[in-house]
Protein backbone atom coordinates (compact mmCIF):
# COMPACT_ATOMS: atom_id res chain seq x y z
CA UNK A 1 0.00 0.00 0.00
CA UNK A 2 1.45 3.35 -0.93
CA UNK A 3 1.40 6.32 1.42
CA UNK A 4 -1.21 7.80 -0.88
CA UNK A 5 -3.65 4.90 -0.70
CA UNK A 6 -3.02 4.69 3.03
CA UNK A 7 -4.05 8.34 3.30
CA UNK A 8 -7.04 8.12 1.00
CA UNK A 9 -8.24 4.76 2.31
CA UNK A 10 -11.71 3.39 1.67
CA UNK A 11 -13.12 4.42 5.07
CA UNK A 12 -11.98 8.01 4.63
CA UNK A 13 -13.36 8.17 1.11
CA UNK A 14 -16.64 6.68 2.25
CA UNK A 15 -17.04 9.20 5.10
CA UNK A 16 -16.20 12.04 2.74
CA UNK A 17 -18.89 11.02 0.29
CA UNK A 18 -21.45 10.24 3.00
CA UNK A 19 -20.61 12.25 6.10
CA UNK A 20 -22.38 11.18 9.30
CA UNK A 21 -24.16 13.63 11.61
CA UNK A 22 -24.07 16.25 8.85
CA UNK A 23 -26.29 19.33 9.18
CA UNK A 24 -27.49 21.72 11.82
CA UNK A 25 -28.41 20.50 15.32
CA UNK A 26 -31.50 22.36 16.51
CA UNK A 27 -31.05 21.32 20.13
CA UNK A 28 -27.45 22.56 20.32
CA UNK A 29 -26.40 24.63 23.31
CA UNK A 30 -22.74 24.98 22.24
CA UNK A 31 -21.78 26.03 18.70
CA UNK A 32 -18.34 26.83 17.34
CA UNK A 33 -17.02 27.58 13.87
CA UNK A 34 -13.53 26.50 12.88
CA UNK A 35 -11.68 27.94 9.91
CA UNK A 36 -8.48 27.29 8.06
CA UNK A 37 -7.81 30.67 6.41
CA UNK A 38 -4.98 29.20 4.35
CA UNK A 39 -7.24 26.91 2.32
CA UNK A 40 -10.72 28.22 3.15
CA UNK A 41 -11.96 25.04 4.87
CA UNK A 42 -14.62 25.81 7.46
CA UNK A 43 -16.81 23.69 9.70
CA UNK A 44 -19.44 24.48 12.31
CA UNK A 45 -19.72 21.99 15.16
CA UNK A 46 -22.99 21.84 17.11
CA UNK A 47 -23.04 20.25 20.57
CA UNK A 48 -25.86 19.36 22.87
CA UNK A 49 -23.73 19.24 26.00
CA UNK A 50 -25.59 18.50 29.22
CA UNK A 51 -24.53 17.13 32.62
CA UNK A 52 -20.96 16.87 31.31
CA UNK A 53 -22.02 14.58 28.48
CA UNK A 54 -22.05 15.24 24.71
CA UNK A 55 -25.65 14.09 24.27
CA UNK A 56 -25.70 14.93 20.58
CA UNK A 57 -23.33 16.39 18.00
CA UNK A 58 -23.62 17.44 14.36
CA UNK A 59 -21.50 19.43 11.95
CA UNK A 60 -21.76 21.32 8.68
CA UNK A 61 -19.39 23.16 6.39
CA UNK A 62 -16.99 22.36 3.61
CA UNK A 63 -13.44 21.24 3.13
CA UNK A 64 -11.17 18.65 1.60
CA UNK A 65 -11.65 14.89 1.83
CA UNK A 66 -9.42 14.60 4.89
CA UNK A 67 -11.07 17.39 6.86
CA UNK A 68 -14.60 16.32 5.99
CA UNK A 69 -14.07 12.63 6.73
CA UNK A 70 -12.32 13.56 9.96
CA UNK A 71 -15.25 15.74 11.03
CA UNK A 72 -17.66 12.92 10.26
CA UNK A 73 -15.70 10.35 12.26
CA UNK A 74 -15.04 12.81 15.08
CA UNK A 75 -18.78 13.30 15.62
CA UNK A 76 -19.30 9.54 15.79
CA UNK A 77 -16.50 8.96 18.22
CA UNK A 78 -17.24 11.67 20.80
CA UNK A 79 -21.02 11.29 20.90
CA UNK A 80 -22.04 10.14 24.37
CA UNK A 81 -18.64 10.89 25.90
CA UNK A 82 -17.97 13.25 28.77
CA UNK A 83 -15.66 16.20 28.31
CA UNK A 84 -12.56 14.57 29.79
CA UNK A 85 -12.90 11.47 27.60
CA UNK A 86 -13.54 13.54 24.45
CA UNK A 87 -10.49 15.67 25.16
CA UNK A 88 -8.39 12.58 25.84
CA UNK A 89 -9.45 11.13 22.49
CA UNK A 90 -8.59 14.41 20.74
CA UNK A 91 -5.17 14.33 22.35
CA UNK A 92 -4.52 10.76 21.18
CA UNK A 93 -5.81 11.53 17.69
CA UNK A 94 -3.64 14.64 17.44
CA UNK A 95 -0.53 12.78 18.61
CA UNK A 96 -1.23 9.98 16.13
CA UNK A 97 -1.53 12.27 13.09
CA UNK A 98 1.60 14.13 14.17
CA UNK A 99 3.43 10.80 14.30
CA UNK A 100 4.07 11.14 18.02
CA UNK A 101 1.93 8.19 19.06
CA UNK A 102 2.21 4.72 17.61
CA UNK A 103 -1.38 3.54 17.67
CA UNK A 104 -0.31 -0.10 17.38
CA UNK A 105 2.08 -0.22 20.36
CA UNK A 106 0.78 2.44 22.76
CA UNK A 107 -2.54 1.70 24.53
CA UNK A 108 -5.23 4.09 23.29
CA UNK A 109 -8.93 4.55 22.73
CA UNK A 110 -8.65 5.49 19.02
CA UNK A 111 -10.50 2.49 17.59
CA UNK A 112 -11.61 3.19 14.01
CA UNK A 113 -9.97 6.64 14.15
CA UNK A 114 -6.77 4.75 13.35
CA UNK A 115 -7.71 5.06 9.67
CA UNK A 116 -6.23 8.56 9.92
CA UNK A 117 -2.77 7.25 10.84
CA UNK A 118 -1.62 7.81 7.24
CA UNK A 119 -1.89 11.58 7.72
CA UNK A 120 1.44 11.44 9.56
CA UNK A 121 3.19 10.98 6.19
CA UNK A 122 1.69 14.27 4.97
CA UNK A 123 2.61 16.90 7.58
CA UNK A 124 0.84 19.71 5.73
CA UNK A 125 -2.45 17.82 6.06
CA UNK A 126 -2.36 17.55 9.87
CA UNK A 127 -4.37 20.77 10.13
CA UNK A 128 -7.01 19.33 7.80
CA UNK A 129 -7.41 16.23 9.97
CA UNK A 130 -7.50 18.17 13.23
CA UNK A 131 -9.67 21.17 12.25
CA UNK A 132 -12.99 19.67 13.36
CA UNK A 133 -11.44 18.35 16.58
CA UNK A 134 -10.14 21.80 17.46
CA UNK A 135 -13.60 23.14 16.69
CA UNK A 136 -15.28 20.53 18.91
CA UNK A 137 -12.81 21.47 21.65
CA UNK A 138 -13.65 25.19 21.20
CA UNK A 139 -17.36 24.41 21.47
CA UNK A 140 -16.79 22.45 24.69
CA UNK A 141 -14.88 25.44 26.05
CA UNK A 142 -17.80 27.71 25.17
CA UNK A 143 -15.85 29.56 22.44
CA UNK A 144 -17.67 30.53 19.25
CA UNK A 145 -14.82 30.54 16.77
CA UNK A 146 -11.42 29.02 16.29
CA UNK A 147 -8.84 29.19 13.52
CA UNK A 148 -5.97 26.94 12.49
CA UNK A 149 -3.66 29.93 13.03
CA UNK A 150 -4.37 29.62 16.75
CA UNK A 151 -3.39 25.94 16.92
CA UNK A 152 0.32 26.56 16.67
CA UNK A 153 2.50 25.04 13.96
CA UNK A 154 0.82 21.60 14.21
CA UNK A 155 4.02 19.84 13.26
CA UNK A 156 5.92 17.25 15.23
CA UNK A 157 9.12 18.57 16.77
CA UNK A 158 11.05 15.89 14.87
CA UNK A 159 9.87 17.42 11.59
CA UNK A 160 11.34 20.86 12.24
CA UNK A 161 14.39 20.91 10.01
CA UNK A 162 17.62 22.66 10.79
Amino acid sequence: MSALTELYNEQIKEHEKKPRNFGKLETANRVAEGRNPVCGDHFTVYLQYEDDVIKDIRFEGEGCAISKASASMMTRSVKGKNKADAEQLFSEFHQMVLGELDEETTPNQLGYLKVFAGVRNFPVRVKCASLSWHTMHAALEGEETTSTEDFGPDIASSQISA
Binding site: L4, C39, C64, A65
Partner: protein
Protein backbone atom coordinates in the same frame (compact mmCIF):
# COMPACT_ATOMS: atom_id res chain seq x y z
CA UNK B 1 -5.29 30.06 -41.84
CA UNK B 2 -5.84 33.67 -40.89
CA UNK B 3 -7.07 34.73 -37.49
CA UNK B 4 -10.43 35.73 -38.99
CA UNK B 5 -10.82 32.29 -40.59
CA UNK B 6 -9.93 30.58 -37.32
CA UNK B 7 -12.48 32.62 -35.43
CA UNK B 8 -15.08 31.90 -38.12
CA UNK B 9 -14.49 28.19 -37.53
CA UNK B 10 -14.98 28.72 -33.80
CA UNK B 11 -11.31 28.06 -33.04
CA UNK B 12 -9.49 30.21 -30.57
CA UNK B 13 -5.98 31.18 -31.58
CA UNK B 14 -4.73 29.01 -28.71
CA UNK B 15 -5.72 25.80 -30.44
CA UNK B 16 -2.97 25.94 -33.05
CA UNK B 17 0.52 24.81 -31.97
CA UNK B 18 2.92 27.73 -31.75
CA UNK B 19 6.30 27.29 -33.44
CA UNK B 20 9.24 28.21 -31.23
CA UNK B 21 12.99 27.80 -31.35
CA UNK B 22 13.31 27.98 -27.55
CA UNK B 23 16.08 25.74 -26.20
CA UNK B 24 14.44 24.71 -22.96
CA UNK B 25 17.11 22.20 -21.92
CA UNK B 26 19.80 24.88 -22.06
CA UNK B 27 17.69 27.23 -19.91
CA UNK B 28 16.73 24.48 -17.44
CA UNK B 29 20.41 23.84 -16.77
CA UNK B 30 20.63 27.35 -15.30
CA UNK B 31 18.24 26.44 -12.44
CA UNK B 32 19.88 24.06 -9.93
CA UNK B 33 16.73 23.59 -7.82
CA UNK B 34 15.07 21.78 -10.71
CA UNK B 35 17.63 18.95 -10.54
CA UNK B 36 16.08 17.04 -7.67
CA UNK B 37 13.60 14.32 -6.92
CA UNK B 38 10.52 14.41 -4.71
CA UNK B 39 9.25 11.08 -3.34
CA UNK B 40 11.73 9.44 -5.71
CA UNK B 41 10.25 11.21 -8.74
CA UNK B 42 11.72 14.13 -10.68
CA UNK B 43 10.51 17.47 -9.37
CA UNK B 44 7.98 19.06 -11.73
CA UNK B 45 7.74 22.63 -10.53
CA UNK B 46 4.49 24.23 -11.70
CA UNK B 47 4.01 26.82 -8.96
CA UNK B 48 5.82 29.65 -10.68
CA UNK B 49 3.04 32.16 -10.12
CA UNK B 50 3.64 31.80 -6.38
CA UNK B 51 7.44 31.90 -6.54
CA UNK B 52 9.62 31.27 -9.55
CA UNK B 53 13.00 29.57 -9.23
CA UNK B 54 16.37 31.26 -9.09
CA UNK B 55 19.12 30.75 -11.70
CA UNK B 56 22.68 29.96 -10.63
CA UNK B 57 23.96 33.40 -11.68
CA UNK B 58 21.57 35.06 -9.22
CA UNK B 59 22.58 32.67 -6.42
CA UNK B 60 26.24 33.38 -7.20
CA UNK B 61 25.72 37.12 -7.19
CA UNK B 62 23.98 37.08 -3.79
CA UNK B 63 26.64 34.79 -2.46
CA UNK B 64 29.44 37.06 -3.77
CA UNK B 65 27.83 40.01 -2.00
CA UNK B 66 27.76 38.09 1.29
CA UNK B 67 31.31 36.84 0.88
CA UNK B 68 33.00 39.96 -0.45
CA UNK B 69 30.84 43.06 -0.12
CA UNK B 70 28.50 42.73 2.84
CA UNK B 71 28.14 45.99 4.77
CA UNK B 72 25.62 48.79 5.17
CA UNK B 73 24.88 51.11 2.29
CA UNK B 74 24.71 54.89 1.87
CA UNK B 75 26.45 55.68 5.17
CA UNK B 76 29.91 54.23 5.39
CA UNK B 77 32.98 55.89 3.94
CA UNK B 78 34.84 52.62 3.98
CA UNK B 79 35.66 50.36 1.08
CA UNK B 80 33.07 47.63 1.67
CA UNK B 81 30.24 50.09 2.15
CA UNK B 82 31.12 51.77 -1.11
CA UNK B 83 31.12 48.44 -2.91
CA UNK B 84 27.75 47.46 -1.39
CA UNK B 85 26.27 50.87 -2.21
CA UNK B 86 27.48 50.71 -5.75
CA UNK B 87 26.06 47.19 -6.23
CA UNK B 88 22.72 48.19 -4.63
CA UNK B 89 22.28 51.39 -6.64
CA UNK B 90 23.57 49.51 -9.68
CA UNK B 91 20.66 47.11 -9.29
CA UNK B 92 18.31 50.09 -9.25
CA UNK B 93 19.72 51.27 -12.58
CA UNK B 94 19.18 47.77 -13.99
CA UNK B 95 15.53 47.94 -12.90
CA UNK B 96 15.18 51.35 -14.54
CA UNK B 97 16.48 50.00 -17.82
CA UNK B 98 14.37 46.83 -17.55
CA UNK B 99 11.07 48.72 -17.30
CA UNK B 100 12.25 51.80 -19.22
CA UNK B 101 11.65 54.29 -16.42
CA UNK B 102 12.90 57.82 -17.10
CA UNK B 103 15.11 57.96 -14.01
CA UNK B 104 16.40 55.38 -11.56
CA UNK B 105 15.14 57.48 -8.62
CA UNK B 106 11.63 56.53 -9.79
CA UNK B 107 12.39 52.93 -8.80
CA UNK B 108 11.91 52.40 -5.08
CA UNK B 109 13.12 49.14 -3.56
CA UNK B 110 10.60 47.34 -1.37
CA UNK B 111 10.27 43.78 -0.05
CA UNK B 112 7.68 42.81 -2.66
CA UNK B 113 4.36 43.76 -4.20
CA UNK B 114 2.41 43.76 -0.97
CA UNK B 115 4.76 46.23 0.65
CA UNK B 116 4.83 48.24 -2.58
CA UNK B 117 1.05 48.64 -2.76
CA UNK B 118 0.96 49.55 0.93
CA UNK B 119 3.63 52.17 0.25
CA UNK B 120 1.40 53.81 -2.36
CA UNK B 121 -1.64 53.48 -0.10
CA UNK B 122 0.15 55.34 2.70
CA UNK B 123 2.12 57.77 0.56
CA UNK B 124 -0.48 58.66 -2.04
CA UNK B 125 -3.76 57.46 -0.54
CA UNK B 126 -3.54 58.97 2.90
CA UNK B 127 -2.49 62.29 1.39
CA UNK B 128 -4.76 62.62 -1.62
CA UNK B 129 -7.88 60.55 -0.82
CA UNK B 130 -10.60 62.09 1.35
CA UNK B 131 -14.18 61.58 2.46
CA UNK B 132 -16.53 60.73 -0.38
CA UNK B 133 -13.68 59.99 -2.79
CA UNK B 134 -13.56 56.71 -4.69
CA UNK B 135 -10.93 54.13 -5.55
CA UNK B 136 -11.50 51.66 -8.38
CA UNK B 137 -10.10 48.14 -8.27
CA UNK B 138 -11.23 45.00 -10.12
CA UNK B 139 -13.03 41.82 -9.20
CA UNK B 140 -9.98 39.68 -10.02
CA UNK B 141 -7.53 41.45 -7.70
CA UNK B 142 -5.20 39.66 -5.31
CA UNK B 143 -5.92 40.44 -1.65
CA UNK B 144 -2.82 42.64 -1.61
CA UNK B 145 -4.54 45.01 -4.04
CA UNK B 146 -7.86 44.93 -2.16
CA UNK B 147 -7.14 45.05 1.55
CA UNK B 148 -4.85 48.16 1.64
CA UNK B 149 -7.49 50.15 -0.26
CA UNK B 150 -10.25 48.89 2.02
CA UNK B 151 -8.23 49.99 5.03
CA UNK B 152 -7.76 53.42 3.44
CA UNK B 153 -11.47 53.74 2.57
CA UNK B 154 -12.42 52.86 6.13
CA UNK B 155 -10.03 55.43 7.54
CA UNK B 156 -11.03 58.22 5.15
CA UNK B 157 -14.72 57.54 4.60
CA UNK B 158 -13.94 56.84 0.94
CA UNK B 159 -15.62 54.24 -1.26
CA UNK B 160 -14.16 51.18 -2.98
CA UNK B 161 -15.62 50.51 -6.44
CA UNK B 162 -15.06 47.22 -8.27
CA UNK B 163 -14.82 46.60 -12.03
CA UNK B 164 -16.72 43.33 -12.58
CA UNK B 165 -15.56 40.51 -14.84
CA UNK B 166 -17.34 37.98 -17.02
CA UNK B 167 -17.26 34.19 -16.66
CA UNK B 168 -14.21 33.89 -18.91
CA UNK B 169 -12.33 36.12 -16.47
CA UNK B 170 -12.22 39.28 -18.60
CA UNK B 171 -12.89 42.71 -17.14
CA UNK B 172 -16.04 44.46 -18.33
CA UNK B 173 -14.65 47.73 -19.64
CA UNK B 174 -18.07 49.31 -20.21
CA UNK B 175 -18.72 48.86 -16.49
CA UNK B 176 -15.34 50.42 -15.81
CA UNK B 177 -16.34 53.50 -17.82
CA UNK B 178 -19.49 53.77 -15.73
CA UNK B 179 -17.47 53.68 -12.50
CA UNK B 180 -14.99 56.43 -13.45
CA UNK B 181 -16.15 59.83 -12.24
CA UNK B 182 -14.89 63.10 -10.76
CA UNK B 183 -14.66 61.52 -7.28
CA UNK B 184 -12.30 58.76 -8.51
CA UNK B 185 -8.85 59.29 -6.99
CA UNK B 186 -7.07 56.13 -8.13
CA UNK B 187 -7.48 53.06 -10.33
CA UNK B 188 -5.55 50.02 -9.05
CA UNK B 189 -5.60 46.85 -11.20
CA UNK B 190 -3.40 43.87 -11.87
CA UNK B 191 -1.45 43.35 -15.09
CA UNK B 192 -1.96 39.56 -15.16
CA UNK B 193 -4.34 37.68 -12.88
CA UNK B 194 -2.57 35.19 -10.61
CA UNK B 195 -5.74 33.13 -10.19
CA UNK B 196 -7.06 33.17 -13.80
CA UNK B 197 -4.13 34.06 -16.04
CA UNK B 198 -6.02 36.92 -17.71
CA UNK B 199 -3.80 39.57 -19.29
CA UNK B 200 -5.63 42.84 -18.76
CA UNK B 201 -5.78 45.53 -21.47
CA UNK B 202 -3.65 48.00 -19.54
CA UNK B 203 -3.31 50.71 -22.15
CA UNK B 204 -7.06 50.93 -22.49
CA UNK B 205 -7.57 50.98 -18.71
CA UNK B 206 -4.87 53.61 -18.21
CA UNK B 207 -5.90 55.94 -21.02
CA UNK B 208 -9.53 55.95 -19.92
CA UNK B 209 -8.49 56.89 -16.36
CA UNK B 210 -6.12 59.56 -17.59
CA UNK B 211 -8.90 61.18 -19.61
CA UNK B 212 -10.54 61.80 -16.24
CA UNK B 213 -7.24 62.93 -14.68
CA UNK B 214 -7.05 59.79 -12.50
CA UNK B 215 -3.70 58.10 -11.79
CA UNK B 216 -3.36 54.33 -12.29
CA UNK B 217 -1.47 51.76 -10.23
CA UNK B 218 -0.58 48.43 -11.84
CA UNK B 219 0.07 45.37 -9.69
CA UNK B 220 2.77 43.84 -11.87
CA UNK B 221 3.51 40.77 -9.72
CA UNK B 222 2.58 38.42 -12.56
CA UNK B 223 3.20 40.87 -15.41
CA UNK B 224 6.94 41.45 -15.03
CA UNK B 225 7.93 37.74 -15.16
CA UNK B 226 5.96 37.02 -18.34
CA UNK B 227 5.85 40.19 -20.44
CA UNK B 228 8.16 43.00 -21.46
CA UNK B 229 7.15 46.05 -19.42
CA UNK B 230 7.68 49.60 -20.64
CA UNK B 231 6.27 51.99 -18.06
CA UNK B 232 6.63 55.03 -20.31
CA UNK B 233 4.78 53.34 -23.13
CA UNK B 234 2.05 52.14 -20.74
CA UNK B 235 2.04 55.58 -19.13
CA UNK B 236 1.04 54.03 -15.79
CA UNK B 237 1.61 56.15 -12.69
CA UNK B 238 2.76 53.23 -10.53
CA UNK B 239 3.97 49.74 -11.47
CA UNK B 240 4.72 47.32 -8.63
CA UNK B 241 6.90 44.18 -8.88
CA UNK B 242 7.91 41.25 -6.66
CA UNK B 243 11.42 39.90 -7.19
CA UNK B 244 10.64 36.35 -6.08
CA UNK B 245 8.15 35.94 -8.93
CA UNK B 246 10.78 37.03 -11.47
CA UNK B 247 13.66 34.66 -10.69
CA UNK B 248 15.14 36.72 -7.84
CA UNK B 249 15.22 36.06 -4.08
CA UNK B 250 12.33 36.81 -1.72
CA UNK B 251 12.57 40.20 -0.05
CA UNK B 252 13.24 42.03 -3.31
CA UNK B 253 10.75 44.18 -5.13
CA UNK B 254 10.13 47.52 -6.76
CA UNK B 255 7.67 50.36 -6.74
CA UNK B 256 8.00 52.32 -9.94
CA UNK B 257 6.29 55.68 -9.59
CA UNK B 258 6.32 58.76 -11.75
CA UNK B 259 8.63 61.26 -10.04
CA UNK B 260 5.92 63.90 -10.08
CA UNK B 261 3.80 61.67 -7.82
CA UNK B 262 6.58 60.29 -5.64
CA UNK B 263 7.81 63.80 -4.88
CA UNK B 264 4.37 64.94 -3.75
CA UNK B 265 3.61 61.82 -1.70
CA UNK B 266 4.06 61.33 2.02
CA UNK B 267 6.95 59.08 3.07
CA UNK B 268 6.01 55.50 3.92
CA UNK B 269 8.03 54.43 6.95
CA UNK B 270 10.09 56.76 9.11
CA UNK B 271 13.64 55.98 10.15
CA UNK B 272 17.22 56.01 9.02
CA UNK B 273 18.25 56.79 5.43
CA UNK B 274 14.95 58.54 4.55
CA UNK B 275 15.79 61.87 6.24
CA UNK B 276 17.70 65.01 5.36
CA UNK B 277 17.82 66.57 8.86
CA UNK B 278 16.33 65.50 12.18
CA UNK B 279 15.73 67.61 15.29
CA UNK B 280 13.17 66.97 18.01
CA UNK B 281 11.11 69.81 16.57
CA UNK B 282 11.09 68.78 12.91
CA UNK B 283 12.42 66.31 10.38
CA UNK B 284 12.97 67.04 6.72
CA UNK B 285 12.95 64.16 4.29
CA UNK B 286 15.51 62.91 1.83
CA UNK B 287 14.93 63.17 -1.89
CA UNK B 288 13.98 60.23 -4.12
CA UNK B 289 14.43 57.33 -3.85
CA UNK B 290 15.73 57.41 -0.25
CA UNK B 291 12.59 59.15 1.04
CA UNK B 292 10.80 55.81 0.66
CA UNK B 293 13.58 53.49 1.83
CA UNK B 294 13.71 53.80 5.61
CA UNK B 295 16.07 51.47 7.42
CA UNK B 296 18.58 49.00 6.05
CA UNK B 297 17.02 47.30 3.03
CA UNK B 298 17.37 43.70 1.83
CA UNK B 299 20.65 44.52 0.10
CA UNK B 300 21.58 40.99 -0.98
CA UNK B 301 18.07 40.36 -2.31
CA UNK B 302 17.93 43.57 -4.34
CA UNK B 303 21.39 42.93 -5.79
CA UNK B 304 20.01 39.49 -6.67
CA UNK B 305 17.09 41.16 -8.45
CA UNK B 306 19.60 43.13 -10.49
CA UNK B 307 21.32 39.87 -11.43
CA UNK B 308 17.96 38.28 -12.33
CA UNK B 309 17.26 41.20 -14.65
CA UNK B 310 20.65 40.71 -16.30
CA UNK B 311 19.75 37.04 -16.72
CA UNK B 312 16.35 37.83 -18.27
CA UNK B 313 17.84 40.41 -20.60
CA UNK B 314 20.29 37.78 -21.78
CA UNK B 315 17.36 35.65 -22.98
CA UNK B 316 15.19 36.19 -26.04
CA UNK B 317 12.14 37.27 -24.06
CA UNK B 318 9.78 37.30 -27.01
CA UNK B 319 10.73 33.73 -27.78
CA UNK B 320 10.35 32.86 -24.08
CA UNK B 321 6.83 34.28 -24.17
CA UNK B 322 5.95 32.34 -27.32
CA UNK B 323 7.29 29.17 -25.68
CA UNK B 324 5.21 29.77 -22.52
CA UNK B 325 2.16 30.36 -24.70
CA UNK B 326 2.76 27.02 -26.41
CA UNK B 327 3.09 25.26 -23.02
CA UNK B 328 -0.20 26.87 -21.98
CA UNK B 329 -1.91 25.81 -25.19
CA UNK B 330 -0.62 22.25 -24.89
CA UNK B 331 -1.54 21.95 -21.21
CA UNK B 332 -4.99 23.46 -21.78
CA UNK B 333 -5.69 20.98 -24.58
CA UNK B 334 -4.53 17.97 -22.52
CA UNK B 335 -6.26 18.98 -19.32
CA UNK B 336 -9.55 19.87 -21.03
CA UNK B 337 -9.68 16.34 -22.40
CA UNK B 338 -10.29 14.99 -18.87
CA UNK B 339 -14.04 14.83 -18.49
CA UNK B 340 -14.44 15.92 -14.87
CA UNK B 341 -12.05 18.87 -15.19
CA UNK B 342 -13.40 22.41 -15.47
CA UNK B 343 -11.02 25.23 -16.33
CA UNK B 344 -11.33 28.44 -14.31
CA UNK B 345 -10.20 31.40 -16.38
CA UNK B 346 -10.61 31.19 -20.13
CA UNK B 347 -9.83 34.73 -21.24
CA UNK B 348 -8.72 35.28 -24.82
CA UNK B 349 -5.43 36.80 -23.68
CA UNK B 350 -3.84 34.63 -21.02
CA UNK B 351 -0.44 34.13 -19.46
CA UNK B 352 0.78 30.61 -18.67
CA UNK B 353 -1.49 30.10 -15.66
CA UNK B 354 -3.92 27.18 -15.74
CA UNK B 355 -6.49 27.02 -12.94
CA UNK B 356 -9.01 24.21 -12.70
CA UNK B 357 -11.36 22.24 -10.51
CA UNK B 358 -12.16 18.53 -10.63
CA UNK B 359 -15.76 17.62 -10.03
CA UNK B 360 -16.24 16.19 -6.55
CA UNK B 361 -12.58 16.57 -5.53
CA UNK B 362 -11.29 19.29 -3.25
CA UNK B 363 -8.22 21.14 -4.60
CA UNK B 364 -6.22 20.37 -1.46
CA UNK B 365 -6.55 16.68 -2.16
CA UNK B 366 -5.48 17.34 -5.76
CA UNK B 367 -2.41 19.15 -4.43
CA UNK B 368 -1.47 16.28 -2.12
CA UNK B 369 -1.77 13.61 -4.81
CA UNK B 370 0.17 15.70 -7.34
CA UNK B 371 2.88 16.38 -4.77
CA UNK B 372 3.14 12.65 -4.19
CA UNK B 373 3.94 12.36 -7.90
CA UNK B 374 6.57 15.10 -7.59
CA UNK B 375 4.35 17.76 -9.19
CA UNK B 376 4.23 21.09 -7.33
CA UNK B 377 1.08 23.10 -7.94
CA UNK B 378 -0.88 25.56 -5.83
CA UNK B 379 -4.22 24.60 -4.31
CA UNK B 380 -6.38 27.10 -2.50
CA UNK B 381 -7.99 30.48 -2.99
CA UNK B 382 -4.81 32.08 -4.37
CA UNK B 383 -5.33 35.14 -2.15
CA UNK B 384 -8.24 36.02 -4.41
CA UNK B 385 -11.34 34.98 -2.48
CA UNK B 386 -13.65 37.27 -4.52
CA UNK B 387 -12.57 35.36 -7.66
CA UNK B 388 -13.53 32.07 -5.97
CA UNK B 389 -16.89 33.64 -5.06
CA UNK B 390 -17.43 34.71 -8.67
CA UNK B 391 -16.90 31.16 -9.95
CA UNK B 392 -18.76 29.68 -6.94
CA UNK B 393 -15.90 27.39 -5.94
CA UNK B 394 -14.23 27.22 -2.51
CA UNK B 395 -10.80 26.92 -4.07
CA UNK B 396 -9.03 25.88 -7.27
CA UNK B 397 -5.90 24.00 -8.29
CA UNK B 398 -3.44 26.01 -10.33
CA UNK B 399 -0.52 25.00 -12.50
CA UNK B 400 1.62 27.95 -13.58
CA UNK B 401 4.40 27.54 -16.09
CA UNK B 402 7.73 29.27 -16.57
CA UNK B 403 10.03 29.20 -19.59
CA UNK B 404 12.04 26.35 -17.98
CA UNK B 405 9.09 23.94 -17.90
CA UNK B 406 8.76 21.29 -20.59
CA UNK B 407 5.99 19.49 -22.46
CA UNK B 408 7.15 16.26 -20.79
CA UNK B 409 6.42 17.92 -17.45
CA UNK B 410 2.97 18.88 -18.71
CA UNK B 411 2.42 15.19 -19.56
CA UNK B 412 3.47 14.12 -16.04
CA UNK B 413 1.16 16.75 -14.58
CA UNK B 414 -1.80 15.62 -16.68
CA UNK B 415 -1.18 11.94 -15.83
CA UNK B 416 -1.15 12.88 -12.13
CA UNK B 417 -4.48 14.69 -12.54
CA UNK B 418 -5.88 11.55 -14.18
CA UNK B 419 -4.66 9.62 -11.14
CA UNK B 420 -6.54 12.03 -8.86
CA UNK B 421 -9.72 11.24 -10.78
CA UNK B 422 -9.02 7.51 -10.38
CA UNK B 423 -8.32 7.73 -6.63
CA UNK B 424 -10.98 10.24 -5.58
CA UNK B 425 -13.28 11.01 -8.51
Amino acid sequence: MTMAEMLALGMSKNEQPIETSWDVERVRADFPVLRQTVNGKPLVYLDNAASSQVPQVVIDRGSRYLQEEHSNIHRGVHYLSQRATSAYDGAREKVRRFINARESKECIFVRGCTEGINLVMHGYGRKFVGEGDEIIISEMEHHSNIVPWQMLCEEKGARLRVIPMDDAGELLLDEYDALLNERTKLVAVMHISNSLGTINPLKEIISRAHKMGVPVLIDGAQGAPHLKVDVQDLDCDFYIMSGHKMFAPTGSGVVYGKAEWLERMNPFMGGGDMIRTVTFEKTTYAGLPNKFEAGTPAIAAQIGLGAAIDYLEGLDREEAHRYEQELLRYATEKLSAIESVRLIGTAREKASVLAFVIEGVHPHDVGTILDYEGVAIRAGHHCAQPVMQHFKVPATSRASFAFYNTKEEVDIFVRAVEQVVEVLG
